[in-house]
């Protein structure tokens, strides 16, 4: 059998055979051909229509095709020059190399790995979300496939689960799904996707005290404001960012959201931190350039080392992809870039808890340089599904896709680095 890493390598190596092509010329040719075909088609249609209406001439005149963009050709020179310069610079990186040290998470951090049931008392499958404390894990229990029915908290110290809330449904909306969840010490907040009868999208933002209670609908976002990409809690406010950038806050007890000043183009990582890159297709090659603290307005510029793509920075660490593995730097520049021999496993957005990087079936501890493998007998693992980087990894305690019990790694329970 092959590994997922080999697949990632095959894709990245394979793409080197990509063609070069004059796309602008190609698009222009394509447009002309479309316009011509359309003209022929409409002309043929017009012949039929002429007999009856006489409006065909007007329709025939409207077949020039979509408007040609009127670009300024000269202005593009600086853009091309920048691209060339960046690509050339990539050959000069020689980050310090760090060897991987394998250990099994359960042996390295015995207090951080535990076993818990994979189903709640109703027989609904658990989907871990993130850690609330070194012993508490927030879970969604799914009444049917991928439908959150209840939010629960499992306490590994007592081995018991408690219900925080039942997830409300809205029968007036189609395709109503709980999408993204966040938690702080006091409250839980999430947004749900739905579609109104006329097909417009709606996003409901809900909150409930972690101690338990009835969920409260904070606000509904519709139309252009409905594309959310992250959610967070800031004490008595719920905060979210939009796919197009921009961060909003809404008092838990209030009625009006406000856009956080200076948040244009920003996307939440984890309150109060925001980044200038979104999680969208095409991000693989895009590097973060700003890290903003939305609470005090401080703004740190970050720059990918030469040859490093997709730089992502939390408040302490940055990491990106070098030509030969992951490259790690510190936001404050206090250490030179170093290369670590782990391949990022999964959609590695930002460092977890300012300390850990996801690796393939393992997690890398930036503070100690240790790689902790999940081990276990299963052939799969899962990552918590919170809006902020989740502190929970889990895998089957026994083989198969639907084990009775999960083994859970709670990164919030990993002791501080010595």
């Amino acid at each position: 059998m092959r590994t997922e890493d080999e697949l990632v390598t095959a894709l990245r190596e394979g793409v080197k055979g990509a063609p070069e092509s004059d796309l602008l010329a190609g698009v222009t040719r394509l447009r002309k051909r479309r316009a011509r075909r359309r003209a022929q088609f409409l002309a043929a249609a017009a012949v039929v229509a002429v007999a009856g209406t006489g409006t065909a001439v007007i329709r025939g005149a409207a077949v020039d095709g979509p408007p040609q963009p009127q670009g300024s050709v000269t202005a593009s020179a600086e853009v091309s020059a920048t691209v060339t310069a960046t690509v050339t610079a990539s050959a000069t990186t020689s980050p310090e190399s760090v060897r991987r040290q394998d250990a099994v998470a359960g042996e390295l951090w015995p207090d951080a790995v535990f076993t818990m049931p994979a189903e709640n008392s109703d027989g609904w499958r658990y989907r871990p979300i993130t850690a609330i404390s070194p012993t508490e894990v927030l879970l969604s229990a799914e009444s049917s496939f991928e439908k959150a029915g209840k939010f629960e908290v499992y306490d590994s110290a007592t081995g018991t689960a408690r219900v925080v809330a039942e997830v409300p449904e809205d029968d007036r909306l189609k395709r109503y799904i709980t999408q993204s969840v966040t938690v702080d010490g006091e409250n839980l907040a999430w947004y749900a996707y739905g579609e109104q009868a006329d097909g417009t999208q709606i996003r409901d933002i809900w909150t409930v005290p972690l101690a338990g209670g009835d969920p409260r609908l904070v606000t509904s976002r519709v139309g252009e404001d409905a594309d959310l990409d992250a959610i967070a809690l800031d004490g008595d406010h719920v905060v979210w960012s939009e796919v197009d950038g921009g961060v909003w806050r809404h008092p838990l007890g209030g009625s009006t959201p406000e856009k956080i000043p200076g948040s244009d183009g920003l996307h939440l990582i984890k309150w109060p931190w925001a980044s200038d890159v979104a999680d969208l297709p095409g991000d693989m090659e895009r590097s973060q350039t700003r890290l903003v603290n939305l609470e005090d307005g401080s703004n740190v510029s970050v720059q990918a080392p030469p040859g490093v793509e997709r730089l992502r920075c939390g408040p302490v660490w940055c990491f990106g992809r070098g030509s030969d593995g992951t490259v790690v730097t510190r936001v404050d520049g206090s250490q030179p870039p170093r290369r670590i021999q782990v391949s990022s496993g999964g959609p590695a957005r930002y460092p977890i808890l300012d300390r850990f990087l996801p690796a393939s079936m393992a997690v890398y501890d930036l503070a100690t340089g240790k790689l902790a493998a999940f081990g276990g007998t299963g052939t799969w693992y899962g990552m918590g599904v919170s809006s902020e980087p989740s502190a929970i990894y889990y895998w089957g305690a026994t083989k198969g896709d639907k084990p009775d019990k999960f083994r859970v790694l709670n990164l919030a329970a990993v002791p501080p680095a010595q």
Binding site: R2, E6, L7, E13, T86, L280, P281, M284, G382, M383
Partner: protein, 175 residues
């Protein structure tokens, strides 16, 4: 690499992408889009066709997209959807020089796997590309392709099975 957003920001007034012309975007991001097209299709001609079709659609909505959205993400989403839903068997006029297929595969140990990717149904390949090349979570892939998260997972599972890749991660949240 320079990003679409950086290009846009370099002359951004009044909007985030304001003032950026379609041609500038294509010149700056074209090579990356071709790579994406190539990894989706596995074929140089299809890659160029896919990118050009998507760019044609982008140019029609450029004025709206450049001010509001992330144009690159928009194009890549179009490409992924188009690749899955639509394909023309009849080759149109060639816009690129022919590249020898598989010229790289002989030199790399993972070349065999790259070749085998060509045997997958388009949707399965798209799911793998979005997961392992674009590094998107299953939820994001579901949104892009307009399918459920469960379908993403089952398509990925089948594709990995065909390629004899051991699926390590069943669930891919946002980390």
């Amino acid at each position: 690499m320079i990003s679409g957003k950086e290009v846009c920001n370099s002359r951004a007034h009044p909007g985030r992408h304001g003032g950026v012309e379609f041609e500038d975007f294509v010149r700056a991001r074209g090579p990356a889009l071709l790579r994406y097209g190539y990894v989706l299709t596995g074929n140089a001609d299809d890659a160029a066709d896919l990118v050009q079709e998507a760019l044609l659609r982008l140019s029609d909505t450029w004025r709206r997209v450049r001010n509001k959205d992330n144009p690159e993400s928009y194009v890549r989403t179009i490409m992924a959807r188009q690749h899955v839903s639509w394909w023309r068997k009849v080759r149109r006029e060639r816009l690129t020089g022919e590249l020898p297929e598989g010229s790289y595969t002989d030199r790399h140990s993972t070349g065999e796997l790259w070749k085998e990717l060509a045997t997958l149904p388009r949707r399965q390949r798209a799911v793998l590309v979005l997961r392992y090349y674009e590094d998107l979570s299953d939820q994001e892939i579901a949104t892009i392709l307009g399918i459920s998260r469960g379908t993403v997972r089952s398509q990925a599972f089948r594709a990995l099975n065909t390629l004899r890749v051991r699926p390590a991660m069943l669930e891919r949240g946002r980390a």
